[in-house]
Amino acid sequence: MSVLVFVENWDGKFKKATFEMVSYASIVAEMSNSNVVALSIGNVENAELEKLGKFGATKVVSVTNDKLNFLDNQAYTSVIAQVAEKENAEVVILSNNNTGKALAPRLSVRLKAGIGSGVNHLPLSITPFVVQKRAYSGNAFANLLIKTPVKILTLAQNSFEIKENGSSTLIENFNADLGEGVVKTVVKDVQKQTGKILLTDADVVVSGGRGMKSPDNWAPLVEFAELLGAATACSRPVSDEGWRPHEEHTGQTGKIIAPNLYFAIGISGATQHLAGVSSSKYIVAVNTDKDAPIFSAAQYGIVGDASKVLPKLVEAVKEMKAK
């Protein structure tokens, strides 16, 4: 028996979210008396693969194959399913990012395994297998019973603490069986966002809404974010107006994020906006309207004009950093 965790790499490197997943998997394995096997697809050096051991992977299965240079959902599903069967996996864990969302449902059918998607807690129990997941766009949680022998979970990013509890790990190269014509997705070009902290990875996010008044007013918000090592985000109308890029749109119809700290500057706090940010550990709101709904979701607030408050926050962070 094993808990299989599918780890993606970015140009041969893992991210914090990867280690979160392995840490999570190792506790699930402890709860179910089994071991963590990590599956890596693509070219990752052994030194990087070995890092997974620190977080509890007792074995890393590494699959390299030129057919897998780009994500093809059918081919990847086939590889993960082969390894899941070979390792006798009871639980398969993927990230709840775009790759995980693309693969988990296919894998579910392939392995006849029910899915708990976007989980952000350890299973409530192993027998029966019950997990808690987001429902009604963050307005509730559902306790989901997975009835199949094999279970698939997609783990929400930033929802589990990294824990170093393992040591060395065994690395095994696996030759996945990929017949001719399996890969059907042809990738024509790739546009990568470089040099910026990804919104979904960030611990701190600074987000602006219509209360910022104009795209020309973003400089202090961006400066504040840079000083904090934070990612920038925005509300939907802001991206709809083209004030900020679409990648920054958070909320029900945009990105769903769970940073430790979320600054909502000039954002009213509509249900659809909160749907994307309500799992943040702390929400800080800056708004001229003391009755804005965002203050009901926030733990810290400033009733004031963003254009006056932001420069003060920038100053304070500079002072903090100077100490």
Binding site: W10, P105, K112, A140, N260, I302, D305, K308, A316
Partner: protein, 249 residues
């Protein structure tokens, strides 16, 4: 060429949800039902593609798995412009059940492009589209923010972590769509509403499928602590609180 748009009916996105029956069921009293936001956008894109004659799309069908209570939402999709609809007459017990019912429908009557939303705003599963593709053994592209047909080739943009990729796949395929697939949802015009009344909704009885999962109960998020206010004149104090009290900086 035929396009199938899978639609889910969900509570209006501003609904304050409540539960009954020991927190096992949604209290539907007073709820306004709408087409799931992403499904509305995918229907819009399907109709935009059909509007261009050279794309060669004869028909856009919507499919829904659910009880007769969903018919107003299906009619709305027809009013927006879908040509016809299929409803599988069953309570949608879980994503696998829904995907399996849709797969049965499609096996009877194949489609070239099948569109699903990236998630439904009620169950937030992000699962039906991918399951459907696997059940049919056809390609799927997920997190699709644009879909076009160029000289008979299907060109899609998908979002990856930290970027975008332009990809091509052969039909039939499932596109799991997200933000960007269409700008604004198309709105039903008076003429569309009149025409929708006579458009066919085929009702299909469900296949015997066993769900993989079951919701045991719902919980409400824990109420957050009351907001602590910092005076705007001394906004800088906030940083000290975040550092020393909340310990998040």
């Amino acid at each position: 060429m035929k396009v199938l748009v899978c639609i889910s009916n969900v509570p209006d996105t501003t609904t304050k949800v409540r539960f009954i029956d020991d927190n096992r069921k949604l209290d539907t009293t007073g709820i306004q039902w709408v087409i799931n936001p992403w499904d509305e956008l995918s229907l819009t894109r399907a109709l935009e593609l059909k509007d261009v004659a050279s794309n060669g799309i004869e028909k856009v069908t919507v499919a829904h798995v659910g009880s007769v209570a969903a018919e107003p939402v299906i009619r709305k999709a027809l009013a927006i412009g879908a040509d016809d609809a299929i409803r599988v007459n069953a309570e949608a017990s879980d994503a696998y059940f829904v995907a399996s019912q849709l797969a049965e429908v499609i096996k009877q009557n194949p489609y070239d492009i099948i569109m699903c939303g990236i998630e439904s705003s009620d169950h937030n599963g992000s699962t039906v589209g991918g399951m459907l593709a696997e059940l049919l053994g056809i390609p799927s592209v997920s997190a699709v923010s644009s879909l076009s047909i160029e000289n008979g080739t299907f060109v899609l943009t998908r979002e990856i972590d930290g970027g975008k990729e332009n990809v091509q796949v052969p039909a039939p395929f499932v596109a799991v769509v997200q933000k960007g697939i269409a700008k604004e949802p198309r709105i039903a015009a008076m003429r569309g509403i009149m025409m929708a009344r006579t458009k066919p909704i085929a009702v299909v009885e469900p296949a015997a499928i066993e769900a993989y999962t079951e919701v045991m109960g719902y919980e409400m998020p824990k109420p957050r602590a009351a907001c602590k206010f910092v005076d705007a004149e001394n906004a800088g104090q906030l940083i000290a609180l975040l550092q020393n009290e909340a310990k998040v900086l």
